[in-house]
């Protein structure tokens, strides 16, 4: 790097750096406020959450989380007094509002559905995607460009437009409101992303590795398994996280094609209501729990983010 001195000619001045830094930090802080607000709301009591002016300082409470995980019934104070001592934080919080916990809410099952469907579809999409990407990357496939464009074009359809015939098809096949149906659908949506991303990653692995392995007596399949796959691990992991995020966040198909047993968290969270309107602390609690995995993934992925969101078109 003996050229560093030459670079200093065009390097931004200290003042311009400071100004740029200030603006960026301000933007980042303002844009993160809505998220911090939701996080704060999840620890408010329902009256605090709808106070005017909005409360920035408040007594933290677990009521939102309690309400998220339970269903409650209203009781007379006499009845509540006749019960034994409260068995835990939630019990106590709820009793202050003249209510008793009636049972678990639907949040846990919906959350578990989200996990099953997201992981199931991600596994299938990455599995199929890796095979196809390898095929497109290493072999002369007739009409390869057309096939790749076809694979990408399935992503351009508006989800509602796809949902109409899928709804009818699933009704005929008995796949409506089943985890299997949703896994199949999300696999089909994600496989286009998986093929495009993974083709980019596999293209970057030199062919010489497999050729050397094949000269050593490996078959093509063995060479794929023992040399290409280990080299592509980072790419496969990044692709898997992108598929996972899509399936985790998806709403349109889930809202139209599931209603009960296979419903995922995104269509469920907005339906959480308390007495007299939406129970905002419970909604905020559900939102917080739902978003935490995504925040973790975003931090893990930040180096591959650009590639993922452009279907591999921009690689840096």
């Amino acid at each position: 790097m003996s050229l560093t001195s030459a670079h200093s000619v065009v390097a931004p001045s200290a003042t311009s750096k400071r100004v740029a830094g200030t603006i960026i930090v301000l933007y980042a802080l303002i844009s993160i406020v809505p998220l911090l607000w939701i996080f704060a709301t999840s620890f408010k009591t329902p009256p605090d959450s709808i106070a005017y002016p909005p409360k920035i300082l408040f007594q933290p409470s677990l009521e939102g989380y309690c309400n998220l995980f339970s269903t409650r019934t209203r009781q007379t104070p006499e009845y509540i007094n006749s019960l034994g001592p409260a068995t835990g934080v939630c019990d106590e919080t709820v009793r202050k509002r003249n209510m008793v916990i009636a049972g678990p809410s639907n949040f846990m099952p919906r959350f578990v559905n989200s996990l099953i469907i997201a992981f199931g579809s991600t596994f299938c999409a990455v599995f199929l995607g890796t095979l196809s990407a390898y095929g497109f990357s290493r072999f002369k496939v007739p009409l390869a460009d057309d096939l790749l464009f076809f694979i990408l074009s399935t992503r351009m359809m508006p989800p509602i437009a796809v949902a109409i015939p899928i709804y009818l098809m699933y009704r005929e096949l008995g796949l409506s409101d089943t985890a299997l149906g949703m896994i199949l659908l999300y696999t089909a949506v994600n496989v286009s992303l998986a093929v495009w991303l993974l083709k980019g990653f596999i293209d970057e692995i030199p062919r010489e590795y497999e050729e050397a392995a094949m000269i050593d007596g490996y078959t093509r399949l063995q060479a794929f398994w023992r040399t290409v796959l280990p080299q592509a691990t980072t790419g496969i992991a990044a692709t898997a996280i992108f598929c996972l995020i899509f399936a985790w966040n998806e709403y349109a198909f889930a809202a139209l094609l599931t209603s009960g047993t296979a419903q995922t968290a995104p269509p469920f969270i907005p339906t959480i209501i308390g007495e007299g309107g939406q129970d905002w602390p419970a909604v905020a609690a559900g939102t917080t729990i739902f978003l935490v995995p995504i925040l973790v993934f975003t931090i893990l992925l930040r180096k591959q983010l650009l590639r993922g969101i452009t279907f591999g078109a921009v690689r840096k």
Binding site: P34, Y52, K140, V162, I164, M169, L184, R220, L295, I309
Partner: protein, 315 residues
């Protein structure tokens, strides 16, 4: 000497034969690897698409499966093109797509341009800025509904704090003239980071020596920006616009939870109209025709745009 002999022998062995002996031929393997994906897409995407095309020529209603299905020819398409509501929905969509893309490109490019100064801690703050675009649009739409509440919402409170207008009068979701902007604001908040990230890649792809040469020629900063930075980052900006354009043309989840198309139909973008026709009025044939029209529109626009993009790249 021995090495050279082995080498020439290896070269003389016909490649395909050598591979066939070891198992499946490459051609067979290629199809074995690719066909599962193609079959899945045919079953879940293409077959339903053809079914939708068929339905678009009928009067089928999904909530009355036992009724006789009549072929109505092009009647559905004719009705859509003459339907006032559809045209209003298309205008709403155009308003949404135009303003979100304009704002996101301007803000996103500016942010990228500033981050490219590589001030201290830029990587950390970039990651913070990127967070909104990773979230579930449906969940985002739902919690912005809370922020927009006129009395209790943080957004209304902040605006009234700055402008002095009483917070009760800032009904972003209930006011007919404000509602279309409410969805533009949320989408811009959420997706500006996306445009920023792509623009940043564009700015970083510009080789340093071009600036050095400009510096030697004593080109002003202003001149450098217009004749180097912007033109060289343009293909990236266009790529971001393409992706955002397609996504926002299809926009459903965020708007559905934020406004549900209301008040009235002021924020009813095309996908919401489609949902109302297909899953509330159950006009399956009619809505299939509308779905096909939307799909052709997205596909056509994307194709034209990709051609333009390639031209820019070749320049």
């Amino acid at each position: 000497m021995l090495n050279r002999t082995a080498d020439s022998v290896a070269r003389a062995t016909p490649e395909p034969l050598a591979r066939k002996v070891r198992g499946i031929s490459d051609k067979g393997l290629a199809w074995l690897f690719i066909s599962p994906t193609i079959l899945l897409l045919l079953a879940i995407n293409i077959f339903p698409l053809f079914w939708a095309i068929y339905l678009s020529f009928t009067n089928y209603r999904a909530n009355r499966p036992n009724e006789v299905v009549r072929n109505v020819g092009l009647a559905n398409y004719k009705r859509i093109l003459g339907d006032q509501d559809i045209w209003i929905a298309m205008q709403t969509t155009a308003h949404f797509v135009f303003w979100t893309i304009l704002l996101q490109t301007l803000i996103g490019f500016t942010l990228a341009w500033l981050i490219d100064r590589k001030f201290r801690g830029h990587a950390f703050w970039t990651t913070i800025i990127l967070v909104p675009m990773m979230l579930s649009p449906a969940v985002v739409g739902n919690f912005w509904r809370f922020l927009y509440e006129p009395q209790i919402g943080l957004f209304a409170y902040a605006i009234s704090f700055v402008t002095g207008i009483p917070a009760t009068q800032i009904g972003m979701l209930s006011n007919v003239s404000l509602a279309p902007w409410s969805i533009v604001i949320v989408d811009t908040w959420m997706w500006t980071p996306y445009v920023m990230l792509i623009c940043l890649a564009g700015l970083r792809s510009i080789p340093e020596y071009i600036y050095e040469a400009a510096e030697v020629d004593r080109a002003s900063n202003w001149r450098q920006f217009w004749s180097i930075t912007l033109p060289m980052a343009l293909p990236f900006i266009m790529l971001a616009v393409l992706f955002r354009g397609i996504e926002n043309f299809k926009m459903f989840d965020m708007v559905n939870l934020l406004t549900g198309g209301g008040p009235g139909s002021t924020t009813e973008v095309a996908s919401i109209t489609l949902k109302r026709q297909a899953f509330e009025s159950w006009r399956t044939g009619y809505s299939s025709a509308f779905a096909i029209i939307l799909f052709v529109a997205v596909f056509g626009l994307a194709n034209i745009y990709v051609k333009a993009l390639n031209k820019v790249k070749q320049r």
